[in-house]
Symmetry: C2
Subunit: 123 residues, 2 copies
């Protein structure tokens, strides 16, 4: 049994959550190859829609995600990964979570914590 | 400022998380109308891809989601809702979370907690 990749053109969204704190870190997409690679290696591998290639999360930054749990939703069209985020930040902007902006009074304000300077990490 | 609905054909995924426990309850999709309705009413409204219509979550079951926080990701193409789930279950199958199956030894096993009998709720 595996996710239903055909339902939405070959990709399923993967919600990524910190295994210990429950913080939602990011959302990415997997095709079947990314799924199999993730299961095989225990490190999160996604499909980059912009680059159109497999993407080992943390390949450049070293901030890989060690997969602790893999869950599947009722319709088998979304997966949830519980991970240990190496390097403390999941977002390429240096924030711990990609969800670092919160709606407040009709606008978004930054509430996230910046863990690194992207210019230092991506040289 | 609002999510980038155009990036993926009018829809953005919405990750839905329990406001208190951090449990990820489900993933759904929003078009701009669903987004505006959610902000306006404080109750989660999605776009049903199968029915091709706006969907007030809990319309049939009464299990609405009261939206406590709305977050936007770095690319503005995914939203995260922190909600209070009325009726204790987000999934139409009666489980608290749609992610009630966990990968274990090559197969998925049910780890979720069933909060109601769907046959009693959806008559």
């Amino acid at each position: 049994m595996e996710p239903d990749f055909e339902k939405a053109g070959g990709l399923v969204p993967a919600v990524v959550q910190d295994h210990e704190t429950g913080e939602v870190l990011m959302l990415a997409y997997m095709n079947r190859a990314a799924w199999l690679k993730t299961i095989e290696t225990g490190k999160a591998v996604y499909w980059s829609r912009s680059r159109r290639s497999l993407w080992l999360k943390g390949e450049t930054s070293g901030h890989v995600q060690l997969v602790r749990e893999v869950l599947l939703d009722c319709d088998a069209d979304t997966v949830l990964l519980k991970v240990t985020q190496i390097g403390d930040a999941a977002c390429h902007t240096g924030y711990r979570s990609c969800f670092y902006r919160k709606l407040a009074g009709g606008d978004f304000e930054v509430i996230g914590e910046r863990m690194f300077d992207p210019q230092e990490v991506y040289k």
